[in-house]
Structure formats: structure tokens, C-alpha cells
Amino acid sequence: MNIKHVFTVFKKEVRDIARDRKTLLTNLIVPIIMMPVFITLMGGSIERMGKDISENITVALSENSYTDEIRNLVEGEIFKDYPNISVNGVVSDPIQSVRNDEVRFVIEVEPDFAEKLAMGQPYNITVIYDQSDTKSSGSYGIIASAINEYNQKVVHKRLESMNIDPGILEPVKIVQSNAAIEKAGSNMMIMMMIPMLVSMLIAVGGIPAATDLVAGEKERGTFEPLLTTQSSRMSILLGKYFTVTLFSIVSVIAQFTGLVVAILMKPSFFNMANPGGSISVSIPPAALILSILITITLGMVFASLQLAVSTYARSFKEAQTYLSFFIFIAMIPAYATMMMQPDDIKFVMFFIPLMNAIASLKMVLGNVINYTNLVVALGTSVLYVIISLVFTASLFNREEVLFRS
């Protein structure tokens, strides 16, 4: 192996790919733009929906309930403190009106409610809504809580009239005490998304380069002349390997740039678990460096496997087909661990390829840092880099693979 040759191949490949507008667009430009556009569109629509659910609640009364007495009860008492609920007249067919989105709720109150109330008997208020409609089912909680509040007011009045302390109805009070590590709560979305994104992006980021660098060269007829130069096969392979690794990492950096822009543009989207809280990630430098190294080594493992596939493939198309499966290899552990909390991570995960990187990132982002586990993850990742590279090098040196046709 000759370091100068490795650098010559690396320099040429980077220059070649950097001049390819198609690769630059898919590896660099689209990832930077895609995330902010996606989050803006999705976040905007979620925000609009949330606003509509909580702020514009329309209620009508059924024909039977459209009396002054009931209107006073509904408007003047039950929904009095709810400016977001507007009572809009009467409907003749409550079911159709709700289904047709004319109103979100129709309220029906027993006609003799006043008598029952006076006698201390229960009476029914029927809330007609459409559970299959997101807005109707989403606003139901607000209507129910307004009715419950009214219920409590009535109970309190009755107890007070009997000189009984209303506290008698609440023998136990729940006192909440949050034991979560500071800031961890607000990073739920980040903790869930980043390990998943990183593992998936690093698995696919190098695919365009890997496909082009061996299968593409074979197909264009540039590969055989390359093998007749004084450069050894190992030098050629390493030059290509570092190029694929670089482009995997560039692709992740591009996606993260997009993610940071998206967070800055729409922080509320990433903070749904803790509305009003701030998004902040505080990672000790040593843990940050370890997690970056683990991510890079994961990229190196994928780079050598992608080059192995590209070497084995008979054509560019065949390489593309085989390499498209890499996304599934990354998707399965990424989705399987998406909801996993840092505390739930088993020690064995730090030994398993890919899972070790996901587990480390989850741990670091969740601020539950265990350096032993991180060092184990890095150690096993380096081992997998060596194994995958030895495998690819052996394939790259096998005539029956290299000249497979």
C-alpha cells in the first residue's frame, strides 16, 4: 500500500463527485432544504389543527333543547368561562349537522333538568360528536371538562348549603414531583429522532458514491486501466473507501444542517412533549467526541460494505438494486429502538453493530451518560470497521469477483 496513491485516488474521486451536479443535489442540497420544508409544512398543519381544536369550538343545541332555560344553562353557566366555545343556535338534525361539519358538537339537555337539579337528582346532557373526525374528537375533552367543572360547582354549592366542607370529597391529593434529569424532558423528540435519522442516513449517504466508484467504473471501462497502474489494489480500494466514508458523513452533516434550520424555524414542532419549554442539548465534550467517533466508525463500516457490494455487482444497476437494501438494514433497528428510553438500554446493545451507535446516541442525547458503555461501543465499532474492511479487501483482490461478468 502506498499512502501517496491512496491520497491520489481519494483526491480524484472527491473532485469527480464534487463536479457531479446530480450527486451534489441529492447528497447536499436536498437534505439541507428537505427537513425545513417538511417540518414547516407538517408543523404548520399540526399547529393549525391544534389551534382549531382548542380555539374554534362550535356548539349548537338540538331543537328539543332550544329553550331559553337551557340556553341560559349552556351559555350562561356551563360554557361561561370558555370563550373558545361558541354556541351557534339550533339544528334540526344533530347527527347530520355534526357529520357534515356544520357544527362540531350538538348538546341535548333533558327538558326537565331544572326540576331534577332543584330536587338534587341527576339529569343527562347528551353531547353529540363525531369520533372519527379529528377536530370533533380532539375538542371533546374541552366540552367534557367544561361540563365537569359545572358539575363540581353544583356539588360545591350543595355541600356548602349543607355546611359541609367540599374537601371531604377529595381524601387524597396528588402531588407531582418530576425526577427527570434537567433538560431531558424537553429533548424527547430530539432523542427519538436523531439516533434514528443518523443510523438511516449514514447507511444510505455513501450509496451514490459507492455505486459509482466500482460498479460505475467497471461499466464505463475506466476500472481495468486503473488496475494496470503501479498503484496496488489496496491503495485504490482505500482511496475509494475514504471517499465513500466522506460522502456518508457529508450527507449526515447536510441533513443535520437542515434539522438545525428546521428547529430554528419551528421550535414548537420539536417541543410537543413539553410545550413552552426550550430545546437545549447539553452534552459533555468527551461524550460528544465519543458519540461522533462512534457515528464516523459506523459510516466506515457501511462504506466498506457498500464498496464490497459495488465490487461484487456485475453492473451499475445491479449495484443500485443490492445497495437499496441497506436502508432496510438500518431501518429495522432504528424503528425498533425509536421509543426506547436511555434507561432501558441493555449493556449487550453496545456490542451489536449499528445498535451500539443508536444506543450511544440515545444515551448521550438523554443526558444519561455512561462512559464505559460509550467506550465499549467505540471499541466494538472499530472492530467492525476492521472486519468489514478485511472482507472488502479480500473481495477486491479476488479475480473471479473483480472480473465477474
Binding site: K12, D16, E224, T229, Q230
Partner: protein
């Protein structure tokens, strides 16, 4: 300059090249004539150290093919047929320099050599333009320059005119003659009789991995009672290959 000694290459049970021996002197063009799949490309790939021989060896210049493959590659230049095999997004100069760098040429020497080759092949106008937009003829000139950038003493041509039009074929022939005039040792594979008759000093007829005849065209002609090369070839490889 080039001495092939009992060279064999087997792929499983298939004897792609079977115990062939020949030698080519300085300034000589040796033609390997054979049908598709006869073993021409495998022989050239063996000589270029892209494949390892199953048995036998060759002396390329002063170096042994099996023991010193990197030194052998320093002494050979190779030109393949069909697509010229250039990097479209690199300029002509970058394409040539890439191979020069991988053949251990120093920067200053390489710059001088690229300028020299641009002049020799008349590429000055487009030497700094990207190869993707070049015509076939322009690409071919870059491929010629690339194959001799490190000034090899032995040139291997693997069916270099395959798929080319008339003028491109003429360019290739002129390039081979130019290499011969410079005293390079040349091995040239082809399945075209006229091409071999026109360019080669000596011919080896290869069939199913075996070198079944070797000599100058005159020697072969007198051995086969004045027959043309085409008739000799047909007689040797058998009537079944006539169609």
C-alpha cells in the same frame, strides 16, 4: 523485451490460457489473432498483472510477472478497445495526470509530459476541458496519451479498434505504428485478419487458450502453401468457426 514462458490461466475446469510461450523483441509488433473467447484478453490481462497466472510466467523487460508485478506495471502501457474509459467529469489533462500520478511520476515531470502529449496528439485546444463533451476521436487521443504518459517500453493493445469507425481505426493504427517507431515492444490482440496483416511483424494464432501457430506472415504462408492468413486461420481453428 517480453518473454512469455509456459503461461497458463485456468478458471475452474476452463483452461482460458494453456501453456503458451512466445517472445516479442524491441520495436516489434506481435499480433495475437483469435476468435472471441479464444484467450486473447486473458493473455493480455495476465501480462498486465491484472490476473495471476495459474502456472508459468513472463519476463516483462527485466522483471518477472509473478514476483514483481508492480515493477512490471511500470513498464507496460495498455489500451483497451470499445469505450475509451475516460472520466467524463475530469479534464483531458486531469485524466492523463491521474494515471501519471498512480505511475509514480513527479509533479513537475508530469506537467511537462502532459504538455508534451497534448502537442504530440494535437490536443492543445481541449486539454483543459472536461472529457464528457469530447467526440469519440478526441476521447481516443486522450486514451492514447494516458496509456503512454509514464513512457512504458511495452504496449499492450486489447482489440483497440473494436467498435470504432474508419477514421478512428486509422488513428489507432497510426498510434501503434508510432509506438513501434519509438522502439516499443507491442502485443496487439485482434480478430481482424487485415489489421493483423497490416500492422504485425509476427502473429500468434490462439484458439481455446492454446497458441496453435506462431511466425511471421510469410513464414505462416509458406508453411501453409501460399495461403492467405484468413485461410490459414480457418484451417487451423476448424471449419466449424467459418460462420
Amino acid at each position: 523485451m517480453l518473454e512469455v514462458k509456459n503461461l497458463s490461466k485456468h478458471f475452474g475446469d476452463v483452461k482460458a490460457v494453456n501453456d503458451i510461450s512466445f517472445s516479442v523483441g524491441k520495436g516489434e509488433v506481435f499480433g495475437l489473432l483469435g476468435e472471441n473467447g479464444a484467450g486473447k484478453t486473458t493473455t493480455l490481462r495476465l501480462l498486465a498483472t491484472m490476473l495471476k497466472p495459474t502456472s508459468g510466467t513472463a519476463l516483462v523487460g527485466d522483471y518477472d510477472l509473478v514476483r514483481e508485478p508492480e515493477r512490471v506495471r511500470r513498464n507496460i502501457g495498455i489500451l483497451f478497445g470499445g469505450e475509451s474509459g475516460l472520466y467524463d467529469r475530469l479534464t483531458a489533462a486531469e485524466n492523463i495526470a491521474y494515471f501519471g500520478e498512480l505511475n509514480n511520476m513527479e509533479k513537475s515531470e508530469l506537467d511537462r509530459r502532459v504538455r508534451e502529449l497534448a502537442e504530440i496528439f494535437g490536443m492543445e485546444e481541449y486539454i483543459n476541458k472536461r472529457a464528457g463533451k469530447f467526440s469519440k476521436g478526441m476521447k481516443q487521443k486522450v486514451a492514447f496519451a494516458r496509456s503512454i504518459v509514464h513512457n512504458p517500453q511495452i504496449m499492450l493493445f486489447d482489440e483497440p479498434t473494436s467498435g470504432l469507425d474508419v477514421s478512428a481505426v486509422r488513428d489507432v493504427h497510426e498510434f501503434i505504428q508510432k509506438c513501434r517507431d519509438e522502439g516499443k515492444t507491442i502485443v496487439f490482440s485482434s480478430h481482424s485478419m487485415s489489421e493483423v496483416e497490416k500492422l504485425c511483424d509476427r502473429v500468434g494464432i490462439i484458439h481455446k487458450g492454446n497458441l496453435i501457430a506462431i511466425g511471421t506472415i510469410e513464414e505462416l504462408s509458406s508453411k501453409f502453401k501460399g495461403d492467405s492468413l484468413e485461410n490459414i486461420f480457418v484451417k487451423l481453428v476448424g471449419e466449424k468457426n467459418e460462420h
